[in-house]
């Protein structure tokens, strides 16, 4: 396992050599958070509720969603398509190591950097803004939150790998990824809680993987899902995780037969 840790550590060191880019990236996240925070603060005065959310719950939602995004969505797999196109995947293929674990290790490195920084940023923001934050104390909800975050992280990783595999067939891997990012931002619940959508639309999205990436873990943290609903989400999210993994296996093996190790 040590080899994978060295890969993760290398990614962290690499991130630190591009300090300015990384700081700007973090700054962008803080700005995005502040916009959402003040938007909801303006929409929802202290003692009212909107779509069933009190001010403290919605602000907690915004805070926690930004923190969870750092864990779930920080990734290096976005580079996979380009790595395939440039022929740099050859380096991975020549190594006696598992390709999925190598990419997972890169993600872990990226996630650790982002988590460390976001914790720092949010401590500062928390002290300055002093929001009415809802702390979940029920151990059941906390444990369920951790499990759903883990499932979401793995599911997101597999989806991301699958998107990267487009590189085996096409040089244009950014267009589908761009669309995916927009869908992701919207339908994972990063901008607003999904249950404020009309019921049929919400039901439709509940069948897609998107809500399980962010919205569901957040709702569980806020203690707003019943025991039954939590069980159902575990089931659907795990089914997606296994389904996407199996698809990835098939697509990867097909792609490998087409891989030309270009660039030379």
């Amino acid at each position: 396992m040590k080899k994978y840790w060295i890969i993760a550590r290398g990614i962290m060191e690499e991130t630190m050599t591009y300090r300015l880019s990384f700081i700007m990236w973090r700054f962008r996240g803080v700005l995005q958070f502040l916009v959402l925070y003040y938007l909801w603060l303006a929409l929802l005065p202290g003692n009212q509720t909107l779509f069933g959310y009190s001010q403290s719950r919605i602000l907690t939602y915004v805070f926690a969603s930004t923190l969870m995004s750092a864990i779930i969505f920080s990734t290096r797999v976005a580079e996979l398509g380009e790595t395939i196109n440039k022929g740099d995947l050859s380096n991975d293929l020549l190594r006696p190591a598992n390709y999925l674990l190598m990419w997972a290790a890169r993600d872990v490195g990226d996630k650790l950097m982002n988590i460390m920084f976001s914790i720092g940023e949010f401590t500062i923001l928390f002290i300055i803004l002093r929001p009415p934050f809802f702390f979940q104390s029920n151990p059941f909800f906390l444990a369920a939150t951790v499990i759903t975050i883990a499932i979401a992280t793995i599911l997101f990783f597999f989806i991301n790998m699958l998107l990267g595999c487009i590189g085996f067939w096409s040089n244009e891997t950014w267009a589908p990824r761009f669309i995916f990012t927009i869908l992701l931002q919207f339908f994972s619940g990063g901008l607003f809680p999904l249950d404020i959508l009309p019921k049929p639309l919400f039901a439709f999205f509940s069948a897609t993987p998107f809500p399980y990436l962010l919205y569901i873990p957040l709702k569980i943290y806020l203690g707003q899902l019943s025991f039954f609903e939590i069980g159902k989400s575990f089931f659907i999210a795990s089914a997606w995780m296994i389904g996407v993994y199996l698809l990835l296996k098939i697509v990867w093996n097909k792609g490998m037969k087409l891989y030309t190790a270009q660039g030379r």
Binding site: L93, P96, M256, R264
Partner: protein
């Protein structure tokens, strides 16, 4: 048992063709034409353990594709490949641990970190013991004289320094089979020579099987006894370098210096004039008649000095490729 056996290997690529210009790009959105390119077309050869073989051919001849098939990066379209008893494209870890592929224009080193970090990663990936790692690293860095820049960011190294570090990264697990694709490309003459000496030493010291491609004939001349010449995906020649001369050079080069000026026209009867100055001529003459022609020349002209040589290997190979084009 040979270390490498290749039988009837073919690798075809599908290439997408686009007409030039904006209109061509638009058309290609809806209707793409593909063409099959035979990068490697039915080649067979085998290599014994410890051999150092030169793989030569012009750009696009199929050299790199063959190396990629042998190292397991590509699935062959047809044919069988076996290296150390493994089927390369299955990429079994036990196989990958025994080989290395070095591409002169590609790097495996971490660009933003010192080369040492990449070596340490390979140490873990190839599961090398601490003691063995230290020993190999010491040996390699001594042979390549790189000790002082192992801890410098790779991006700050010169091309030559980087190439040396690439080699160390590729050899740190002491591979038994080594595929070198243009290892000396872009390096200055001194560095090329250093690298050649290193490759030779590695081959002898570890009895490693090495397959090397290069554009520089000098690499091949100095390192390889046996060469495989490939063009348009087919093998044109497989044998000892010295045999190329016998097989392909139907002529020799005769150089004569004269005591007084000799008319160019009067020399034409003796052979094809390659170079001419009034006091000196280089003639290309049929191999089997070389002594007759020399005797006649000595008889007819006031010859001061006469020399018969084999043509240069570079020239012979160039001729082979040109003939193949026709």
């Amino acid at each position: 048992m040979p270390a490498i056996t290749v039988s009837h290997l073919s690798k075809y690529y599908k290439i997408y063709q686009k007409e030039p210009g904006m209109l061509g790009s638009l058309k290609s959105l809806f209707n793409r034409k593909y063409q099959t390119s035979k990068a490697v077309d039915d080649i067979s050869f085998s290599i014994e353990e410890g051999e150092l073989i030169g793989f030569i051919g012009p750009n696009g001849a199929g050299k790199t594709t063959t190396l990629k098939c042998l190292s397991g990066l590509l699935y062959p379209t047809y044919g069988e490949v076996s290296v150390l008893g493994f089927t390369p494209h299955k990429r079994k870890h036990a196989y990958l641990k025994q080989i290395a592929l070095v591409m002169g224009q590609k790097n495996q080193l971490w660009w933003d970190l010192p080369a040492m970090d990449s070596f340490l990663l390979n140490k873990e990936i190839y599961q090398i013991q601490d003691k063995q790692f230290k020993k190999t690293l010491d040996e390699l860095s001594y042979l390549l004289a790189v000790k002082e820049f192992l801890h410098v960011q790779v991006r700050k190294l010169s091309l030559g320094q980087r190439m040396k570090c690439e080699l160390i990264a590729a050899l740190i697990h002491s591979p038994k089979v080594l595929f070198l694709d243009e290892p000396t490309i872009g390096l200055d003459v001194v560095m090329q020579q250093n690298l050649r000496e290193f490759i030779k030493e590695y081959n002898q010291k570890f009895n490693a099987t090495i397959l090397l491609t290069s554009h520089y004939m000098e690499d091949v001349k100095q390192l390889c006894e046996r060469v495989i010449i490939i063009d348009h995906g087919k093998i044109l020649f497989d044998g000892k370098l010295a045999d190329i001369v016998k097989e392909y050079a139907g002529h020799k080069l005769l150089t004569a210096s004269f005591e007084k000026k000799i008319d160019k026209e009067s020399l034409r009867a003796f052979g094809k004039i390659e170079e001419y100055e009034p006091l000196r001529v280089v003639l290309s003459i049929p191999r089997d008649k070389s002594s007759d022609i020399a005797a006649k020349l000595l008889d007819k002209f006031p010859v001061e000095d006469l020399n018969i040589e084999e043509p240069k290997i570079e020239d012979i190979i160039r001729d082979v490729f040109q003939k193949n084009k026709l």
